[in-house]
Amino acid sequence: MATVARCLNEILNPQTIEVLEVIFIYLILVGAAVGILLIVEPISNFKELRYELTEFVHYYKNTAWWWLTTFLISVISLTIGAGQSVFVDLTLLSLFTAPAIAYYHQNSPFSIKVEYRARTSNGRTAIGEEIENIATLDNDQYILEFPITTGSNIDEFEIDLAVPDGVEVWNYSAITGVDLSDNKTSIEGHAPAGRDSFVFELILKKTAGVKQGANLVVLSDSSSGRELVSVRLMP
């Protein structure tokens, strides 16, 4: 970075460099503003914004981009030193924020969230099963409860459903406006007016029975492919 700055100093006069720096800062600020608007615009309140950003950070921290950009910026900062000039700082910052904004743009909204609630056969909460995301047979059926949260910024949602061989969808319980697709491979619809959460119950009936290693029920966001929850069916 310092070499680039030295080369620029040799080629261009200081005034031109200052103008270019101002243009660069301006573009960075406009880019940041557009990025923030992109995130904030469809969100109606602060609570939801906080939730959306928390979920975004949760997912982004697990990507290679997070580690790569963090590592790269650390190396550059150690080599040339941060805080030398606004130009260098903003360049470093943009190295980090640009992929993050691109990732957000590609995978948003993050406010769609699916949890798993496990029960014992007498209906009590099965804490151990819930923590480990496993389901056990109850009269040849697996009863899965998925509390689903959608942000108010989501008009329509589609969650892909993958069910392992050896079981079939026997029944489901949703609310008006939310359905399982005809081929039973996705949950689709819209959250009820005035609220953004509901519980989707899925009852799977044992046919041939699941096999070890191929016993996952997976729910993932249809548009991004992001896995939202997975539950292991115990044979």
């Binding site: 007498n122 209906g123 059926q141 026997w170 029944n171 489901y172 949703a174 008006t176 959460s197 519980v199």
Partner: protein
């Protein structure tokens, strides 16, 4: 008292004929098909399927006997073309409605397959349950646990429901529910609670596990039982049965669209 099990099928009338059951490997045979229009009951306001065609008739079901032979039992069916409800009425416990559905499905095109378990929108189904005259059992599964809301209604009839819940052994199973006291406290005037509509249940986050309710029509009772998608109707006469079906069609089938 006749017992009907409810299923659902899309476009079944296209495939429904007396030739269903001609295959040798099947145990069910359609014996008759009658067509008539459904007339709405004045007691069911805004019935949305007035004039729909229903196919009714009888079917024979072959049951294997001990000496390698078999004997035949006759049952009745009804298919309502607009609401797509399919009802199977079996005369005795010897014929399992589940077996009838399975045999029929083997002969039907997959597009017209009869759903044996009904997937109902909970908020619409809740409206239908609210219409019941009495509710004997209403097992609900909420965030805090599973409980019988019919018992909860009984607790609310006491002067001090929270104290009754804490001390009366009859309600001991309700005590384990995490937020049960909050549910009771949320009811403004417990003594004036008439039915489940006064309970402030958040049906969006509550699963309906099991229901046993009774609907009265002209001094005739119709009992509805539901559990995990299986819906069964026991009615004292055809009018009481038709009344409950029309309520169900209006509140759940049409209301859930």
């Amino acid at each position: 008292m006749s017992t009907s099990r409810l299923g659902r099928s899309e476009g079944l009338e296209k495939y429904w004929s007396e030739h269903l059951g001609d295959r040798p490997e099947t145990d069910v045979a359609i014996k008759s098909i009658d067509r008539e229009h459904v007339e709405s009951f004045p007691e069911v306001a805004d019935y949305p399927f007035d004039g729909q065609i229903k196919l009714t008739g009888t079917f024979a079901f072959e049951i294997p006997s001990r000496n390698n032979g078999s004997f035949t039992q006759t049952g009745e069916y009804e298919y309502r073309t607009a609401s797509e409800l399919f009802l199977v009425e079996t005369p005795t416990d010897l014929v399992d409605a589940e077996d009838v559905f399975t045999d029929l499905n083997q002969q039907l095109a997959s597009t017209a397959e009869i759903q044996r378990a009904l997937s109902l929108p909970r908020d619409s189904f809740w409206r239908f349950i609210e219409e019941a005259d009495t509710i004997e059992t209403l097992i609900l599964r909420g965030r805090g646990g599973t409980y019988d809301a019919a018992k909860l209604l009984s607790v609310l009839q006491y002067d001090d429901p929270v104290e009754t819940l804490r001390t009366n052994p009859e309600f001991s199973d309700l005590r384990s529910i995490e937020d049960i006291e909050d549910i009771i406290s949320a009811v403004d005037t417990p003594s004036e609670v008439d039915g489940i509509q006064d309970l402030n249940i958040d049906i969006y986050s509550t699963i309906i596990d099991e229901v046993k309710g009774t609907y009265w029509f002209c001094d005739r009772a119709a009992d509805v039982w539901y559990k995990r998608g299986v819906l069964q109707l026991d009615a004292e006469d055809v009018d009481a049965r038709e009344y409950v079906i029309q309520l169900f069609e209006r509140d759940v089938i049409h209301g859930g669209v």
